[in-house]
């Protein structure tokens, strides 16, 4: 399956696949892909974005906007960084992003 690019991933609907579980370790959250057995650590901002996804009904752009609001910054200030983060997750099979 083609992974969305940094340019278009925020326009996707995204979910954490059923074979990915994640747990907190203090400030870090560890994602585990049960199919591959691979772990991936994300920081507090990344974990919060993942946690916001269900609330945003998978709308990545909306989730980024909510994260930005929580952090007291404009969405535009973090959009590019978050897009890159989501692409990385998708490439590792830790996020499924499909065009809306």
């Amino acid at each position: 399956m083609r992974v969305a690019s940094r340019e278009d991933i925020l326009d996707c609907r995204a979910v954490v696949p059923a074979d990915v579980v994640y747990r907190e370790f203090g400030d870090e959250t560890l994602l585990l892909n049960l199919s591959t057995g691979n772990y991936h650590g994300v920081n507090a901002s990344g974990a919060r974005l993942i946690a916001l996804l269900p609330e945003a009904d998978g709308d990545l752009r909306l989730a980024v906007e909510r994260l930005a609001a929580e952090c007291g910054v404009g969405a535009g200030e973090i959009a590019e960084e978050m897009a890159g983060f989501c692409v990385q997750l998708a490439e590792r099979g830790l996020l499924e992003a499909t065009a809306r």
Partner: protein, 335 residues
């Protein structure tokens, strides 16, 4: 029939379990039946499916010393496991069924206390994981009603440290393998077998334990003495984990603390420390991996974690006093 409790398992053994002392009553859950069988029975069990080696360890001479084969029903990748065949050169082999409730051992022709090292050190911890528990490569003692664990690489002195803590008046919870399970937001530590292997390193540790009335000797072989200690009767909340690292001479001088170990609270927690401390890396099915992550996360959130850098100039009794003092502070009010 011997009924014992260890590693969170009720053990129903059709042979004597050397050193268990019968002091920990069965709890009525996670029943594991243990039987002695001829080697041919294990061959037959293993021959009923397709075998895949999922773990192997070499001895000091480089030859294979231990292994675990997964035996699955015919049908290729993804076929359900029938059981696991654990082997330890010189000690015997054991079949552990996929549910972890049926253990059959073909023991080497050795005194029970010797071949049962394989049972206690490898087979029962493996069965514990199959029964839904998680296991850490750690020794532990009880401090103020809570378990305090020491994690270290093999040979770094976990056992010596735990037994020196026993000499300071603490009870041994386990030696080398600690079975834990999630309970609320924290972890419960289950006592292992009240047994330990003491290396003959010139410190007279086994003798001191016996003289102080903490232990009795089961036997000696291969440069080690097997001792039986006073068993703990109940599971305890896990309150602290010490990650012990033996530093070199150069590193010791760099810390400026050549006569004391450096003990520092780990914050933030590195998840890899806990994941790497889990004992069984061979079982990697989704259920086990999820539980492993769950338990490590709970441990990171509920237990105090400490890094211990110990220079060569600090001996085990001195390190034990330092660990005890920190553990007493971390344990909180008696549980």
């Amino acid at each position: 029939v011997t009924r014992e409790r260890a590693f969170g398992l009720d053990l129903d053994a059709r042979f004597g379990l050397d050193g268990f002392a019968g002091a920990v009553p069965p709890a009525g859950d996670r029943l594991v039946r243990l039987r002695l069988v001829p080697e041919a029975e294990l061959r037959e069990l293993a021959g009923a499916g397709e075998s895949e080696r999922i773990a192997a360890a070499a001895g000091a001479d480089g030859a294979e010393a231990a292994s675990i084969d997964r035996v699955a029903a015919a049908g290729g990748e993804g076929a359900p496991a029938l059981g696991y065949l654990a082997s330890a050169t010189g000690f015997g082999r054991a079949w552990i069924d996929a549910g972890g409730g049926d253990v059959r051992v073909a023991a080497a022709a050795l005194p029970a206390w010797r071949w049962q090292r394989f049972l206690v050190g490898q087979v029962l911890p493996f069965a514990a994981v199959l029964n839904g528990l998680e296991v850490f490569h750690a020794s532990a003692v009880a401090v103020e009603g809570r378990a305090v664990a020491v994690v270290a690489a093999s040979g770094a002195g976990k056992t010596s440290l735990a037994l020196e803590l026993v000499l300071l008046g603490l009870d041994l919870v386990d030696d080398d393998v600690l079975a834990v399970e999630r309970a609320g937001h924290g972890l419960i530590a289950h006592p292992g077998a009240p047994l330990a292997n003491v290396r003959h390193d010139g410190t007279g540790l086994a003798e001191r334990l016996c003289e102080a009335g903490h232990a009795r000797v089961l036997g000696s072989a291969d440069g080690e003495t097997r001792v039986e200690l006073r068993p703990r009767a109940q599971a305890l909340p896990l309150s602290a984990i010490f990650f012990l690292r033996r530093t070199g001479e150069g590193e010791a001088s760099a810390t400026g603390e050549g006569d004391r170990a450096r003990i520092e609270r780990i914050d933030p927690v590195d998840p890899r420390l806990l994941l790497a401390a889990t004992f069984n890396l061979a079982l990697r099915d989704p259920g086990r991996l999820t539980r492993q992550l769950d338990v490590c996360s709970a441990g990171a959130g509920s237990a105090a974690l400490f890094a211990v850098d110990c220079p060569p100039s600090v001996d085990a009794p001195q390190l034990a006093r330092q660990i005890r003092d920190v553990a007493l502070g971390a344990a909180g009010p008696p549980s």
